[in-house]
């Protein structure tokens, strides 16, 4: 398969997973990443349909992604609420909101709708893919070498020490959520205005959760996460090859493959000694100041 084509199919998961890497390094799990992607996907398509400008659509996805992240962050960071509860509620909100708006804006039945797609150059590359390829080393460098990255990582490992060193864990985590939310929104947008050119109910189809799993697979390092996303993207694209080659495998079983593969990957890396370590020590734990 053409490598750029592979990158395109892997990009939604890769972009979301890149943002999720920053979020998890700060000690949070963005359970509503799926919902953030879905709202990004819808609002990008909606704005492109209204204005005809793909750039504005991507901008809208960044904004709505940030907004979803702020809501998640307000509850889980500033109110120390349970991340799974809030994340699940936001996922539900995203399905309901996009479904209802889609029906009210584009007809009762949700008829197929096609919008202009992102222009490509250099044989298939586009702005978002370039952003992804630049973003991986930049975020990798910032996380590893900058003082912001150091503070952020400490908030995910041992937040008490971060606080003692004079940083605000809550602000660091909020910042990480903003990055994760914007990239999540962009990832969803790329699905609708980059790849398919249309929206359907629940069209992110679990990619947000696959992205969260890929962060584990990629051992919380941007390059590793990108490779993990490419791996799943390759598996995803296999379904087209299977169909083309005429191998007699029932279609639904091929459709289930990316999810099964993601599970298998998690089973392998799960508690295996060889892969042990790498997970932020305070991952998923709420931080309350002065406890």
């Amino acid at each position: 398969m053409d490598p750029i084509e592979l990158l395109r199919y892997a990009a939604p998961v890769a972009i979301a997973a890149l943002g999720e890497t920053v979020v998890q390094r700060a000690g949070l799990i963005h359970i509503s990443l799926e919902g953030t992607m879905l709202t990004g996907a819808f609002f990008a398509m909606w704005v492109v349909a209204l204005t005809g400008s793909v750039g504005l659509g991507l901008g809208a996805a960044l904004l709505i992604g940030a907004a979803m992240a702020i809501v998640f962050g307000w509850f889980t960071i500033w109110r120390a609420a349970d991340q799974v509860v809030v994340g699940t509620a936001l996922n539900l909100l995203a399905i309901g909101l996009t479904g209802t708006l889609f029906r009210s804006q584009f007809g009762q039945s949700g008829k197929l709708l096609s919008v202009g797609k992102l222009p490509t150059f250099w044989g298939g590359l586009d702005l978002v893919l370039v952003l992804l390829l630049v973003g991986v080393p930049v975020i990798g460098f910032l996380l590893a070498k900058s003082s912001w990255g150091l503070a952020l990582r400490s908030a995910g490992e041992y937040p008490k020490a971060t606080e003692a060193a004079g940083y605000s864990v809550l602000r660091l985590r909020t910042g990480a959520m903003l990055v994760g939310g914007m990239l999540g929104g962009l990832a969803g947008a790329y699905l609708t205005v980059g790849i398919t050119g249309s929206f359907a109910d629940n069209c992110t189809a679990g990619r947000g959760f696959v992205a969260i799993a890929m962060v584990t697979f990629g051992r919380w390092r941007p390059w590793g996460v990108l490779l993990a996303a490419l791996f799943i993207g390759a598996a995803d694209s296999l379904q087209f090859r299977f169909q083309a080659s005429g191998v007699q495998v029932p279609y639904p079983l091929i459709m289930a493959m990316p999810y099964v593969l993601t599970l298998l990957v998690l089973v392998v890396v799960g508690k295996g000694k060889r892969f042990a370590g790498g997970a932020p020590a305070a991952l998923g734990q709420a931080f309350r100041r002065g406890e």
Partner: protein, 340 residues
């Protein structure tokens, strides 16, 4: 839960409904009237509400058991589907001789299927450290595809023309009280399960252990309670309840399997359980409220563009409001404790 809390919750839920209608630009009064008429207008409407609330009660109970045990089961939907598929397999097996006595056996198969699927996610967590939130969601997508495979392959109807299973023979379908009404015996099975789950959680050793492990894994370990096995049990019970919901919907309102069999009832058990405060008794009013909304929104959808997806918004906002209020209360309590 104190009485005024329950009253506050009821007022809050209605408020959220009104707000959501207003935000989506629907006329509040007429919309409420349409919803009310669709949910409680006559005995048929009430029956519809009860039938929609039935799977919500069961999946809500399922979520209560898992979440009480600290297992964030998001996989109710998959367990619901697998349960129904197990039931359909037994129905296919006994099809030549559909005796009503097979009914309980079919429901047991549904429970076993759901429990097994829940157990799979539990095992992935206990043995391999795979987060339940992630694994159960992925297993939901796998279950949807397995269902599609089944109704285009092994469980497809005899003529092999459409992607559906055979209709459940009359002798095996859940008993109804009135041929014109949807109400079936499954609703009462669900209500019985409320009592069973309540007794299980609060009056059995296994239930106590599930609650203890969910509250504090370390305390449980220190008392030589095998946390892993307890969590496996909570996932099995949780999946079994969701599987039962799938079996009941298959033998009752759906009558067959097809691509549109999954209606998100498994997923919607989560907000039900959360709004019930993870209390089995609270599941009934929460499920009834949303069952009524689903029954009523069908009516609303006939006249407006708002469909059942709007109810997702109401549920999400209600859960977020509930979480927000309880964290505020917690903060006030800790502040008060600090002042002492």
């Amino acid at each position: 839960m104190k009485l005024w809390n329950v009253a506050g919750m009821a007022v809050g839920l209605v408020l959220v409904l009104v707000l959501t209608l207003a935000v989506f630009g629907l006329p509040v009064g007429p919309s409420l009237a349409l919803i009310g008429e669709g949910a409680f207008g006559d005995k048929f409407a009430i029956a519809r509400t009860l039938v929609k609330a039935t799977p919500l009660v069961l999946t809500g109970l399922g979520m209560v058991v898992a979440w009480k045990g600290g297992m964030y089961n998001i996989g109710g939907e998959g367990q619901y589907i697998i349960g129904a598929m197990f039931a359909a397999t037994v129905v296919k097996g006994v099809l030549p001789n559909p005796h009503p006595l097979f009914g309980p056996l079919i429901l047991v198969a549904a429970v076993v299927g759901g429990a097994g699927y829940g157990l799979l996610a539990g095992w992935l967590y206990v043995a391999r450290g795979v987060e339940v939130v992630i694994s159960t969601i992925l297993l939901n997508f796998v279950a949807v595809q397995l269902l599609r495979y089944a109704v285009t392959g092994p469980l497809q109807e005899a003529k092999r023309q459409v992607p559906e299973s055979d209709l459940v023979p009359k002798a095996l379908a859940l008993a109804k009280f009135d041929r014109q009404m949807d109400l079936h015996i499954g609703t009462f099975i669900a209500l019985a399960m409320v009592v069973v789950v309540w007794l299980f959680l609060f009056y059995t050793r296994a239930g106590y252990r599930i609650r203890l492990v969910g509250d504090n894994r370390n305390v449980a370990r220190a008392n030589f309670i095998p946390a892993g096995r307890v969590q496996l049990l909570s996932m099995a019970v949780s999946g079994g309840l969701c599987g039962l919901a799938g079996g009941i919907d298959y033998l009752g309102p759906a009558g067959q399997l097809g691509f549109n069999f999954p209606q998100d009832w498994g997923f919607l058990g989560i907000p039900i359980a959360l709004l019930a405060g993870l209390n089995p008794a609270g599941v009934v009013p929460a499920a009834l409220y949303f069952g009524a909304l689903f029954a009523g929104s069908d009516n609303l959808a006939r006249y407006t563009t708002a469909g059942p997806t709007m109810i997702f918004v109401i549920q999400a906002v209600a859960v977020l409001g509930f979480v927000g209020l309880s964290t505020l209360r917690l903060r006030r309590k800790t502040a008060a404790a600090g002042a002492d």
